[in-house]
């Protein structure tokens, strides 16, 4: 196993292996909950919580689980943490919980989480898994933040609910609708690829 420094393990999740822009994972929540920055942040934090805890748990009990039932076990573990996050939100942040609807429970089928368990946590030490999970979820939050900022600013003229665009600005309602989400993410993916190839060129 190629060993990376702890820093590199963390950093790779931000860009190199960014789950959204580079690996195209977790597309459903990325599209569904980014109509406002606050929703994006809430989603990101929930994912953060679930990913880190399940990574720690999976990596610490990896030896006990026979491979035939590992997926099932991971799902149960992840689902447990998702339930916790979901209940917690419903109890203490009811408006956000309402606007996120079924998408918090759907974290359980987010490829990022199950994928990291299989690809990383089940094979690495607790420490490394933790760092990896931190990096990945930060990358995910980053992506959520970028997309939701663009959508909220253009779609409502606000950022986190505060008016940021002048009165002259007519909000582009399409941005908070599905069509806008798809188009914006499509363009962002292209931008990410352009940045990637530019940096590669510069390196050479």
């Amino acid at each position: 196993m190629p060993s990376k420094s702890v820093g590199a393990e963390y950093i790779k999740g931000l860009w190199e292996e960014n789950p959204v822009f580079r690996q195209l994972l977790g597309m459903c929540p990325i599209l569904a909950v980014t109509n406002a920055v606050i929703n994006g942040i809430a989603m990101g934090l929930a994912t953060y919580f679930v990913l880190i805890l399940s990574s720690v748990v999976v990596s610490s009990i990896k030896k006990l689980i026979p491979s035939q039932v590992r997926i099932a076990s991971y799902i149960v573990i992840i689902a447990t943490f998702v339930t916790i996050a979901d209940r917690f939100m419903a109890a203490f942040f009811p408006p956000i919980s309402k606007s996120l609807g079924p998408y918090i429970p759907l974290i359980v089928v987010n490829c990022i989480i199950l994928g990291r368990q299989e690809a990383f946590s089940s094979k690495n030490s607790v420490g490394r898994s933790l760092v990896d999970a931190l990096g990945m979820s930060t990358g995910f939050i980053l992506a959520l933040l970028v997309l939701s900022s663009i959508r909220e600013i253009l779609g409502m003229g606000t950022f986190l609910g505060h008016q940021v665009m002048g009165a002259w600005f007519k909000p582009w309602i399409i941005m908070i609708l599905p069509a806008g989400a798809f188009i914006t993410l499509g363009i962002l993916l292209a931008v990410a690829l352009v940045i990637e190839s530019e940096t590669k060129k510069r390196k050479n």
Binding site: Q23, A72, C111, L114, E118, A119
Partner: protein, 268 residues
């Protein structure tokens, strides 16, 4: 009591699920290539479809069949790629390192045009209409090989001839296949002496077509008969290892420079 219900429910679910799985594994086992299972194991099992296949197992099958690239799983990252490559990889024995060489020196200055070519600007298409160059054997200069190279190891030089980057070339042979005139050849990296022409005509015709064409005069073959022979009006290096360094000056007396060394500074 309230606390017990969820615990029991979950326990029961786990129990039913695992029993079901255990039975299923034993009763419904299907024989398959053991490699599929091994590669499947190495994959993230996210079954996310990011690879374009319907799941990790399907992707593994595709890898075995050679339909998918070993680095086709974007989720697993580097480790997975290395693992799959290890599983699939055939340990390469010690072979002579080869490199693709362009066997034509018909650059824009040396080789004359056959006319004003207005067709599709690929070598393959040009070749179908008889080519844009007067020489029917030489490089057409549209760079089909450049496009074919998966390693970005060939680019067009300023003189209208492709240039191979020795560092990047892996001798995969894609350019050899792509060249409609068969002037690219995989040659041992160590071979320094080459015939840079494929013209099978004799005398005036090749000379008219290209300054650097082999006119089949045979000077080189006479200078070093043990390594070089003439075949179909073309000098051919049969065995470069047999070229006597002392005879190189005589060989290089070629009137059209169709035969010569790649790097003169390397040798005496």
């Amino acid at each position: 009591m309230d606390v017990l219900i969820p615990i029991l429910t979950m326990g029961a679910l786990g129990l039913i699920f695992s029993v079901g799985l255990a039975i299923a594994y034993q009763k419904l086992k299907v024989e398959e290539d053991p490699k599929v299972a091994i590669i499947s194991e190495a994959l993230p099992q996210a079954n996310c479809g990011a690879c374009g296949y319907s799941g990790c197992r399907a992707f593994a099958e595709a890898v075995i069949k050679g339909e998918a690239e070993t680095n086709g799983c974007p989720v697993g990252g580097e480790e997975t790629i290395i693992k799959i490559a290890e599983i699939m990889g055939v340990k390469a024995g010690e072979v002579v390192k080869k490199i693709a060489r362009i066997l034509c020196h018909g650059d824009t200055e040396a080789a004359k045009d056959r006319g004003i070519y207005l067709g599709i600007t690929t070598c393959y298409a040009a070749n179908l209409t008889g080519g844009n160059k007067l020489c029917p054997y030489g490089c057409l200069g549209f760079g089909d090989c450049v496009l074919a190279c998966p390693f970005d190891a060939i680019h067009m030089g300023g003189d209208g001839l492709p240039v191979v980057d020795g560092k990047k070339c892996t001798a995969c042979g894609k350019c050899v296949e792509a060249c409609p005139r068969n002037i690219i050849e995989l040659v041992p990296l160590a071979q320094n002496m080459l015939v840079f022409c494929r013209n099978l005509d004799k005398g005036i015709a090749p000379k008219k077509a290209c300054k650097n064409a082999c006119i089949g005069c045979g000077i080189c073959a006479r200078a070093c008969p043990e390594a070089i022979i003439m075949e179909n009006n073309l000098a051919i290096i049969k065995d470069y290892k047999k070229i006597d360094p002392e005879k190189i000056p005589a060989i290089e007396k070629c009137p059209t420079n169709a035969i010569g060394r790649l790097f003169k500074e390397d040798e005496g």
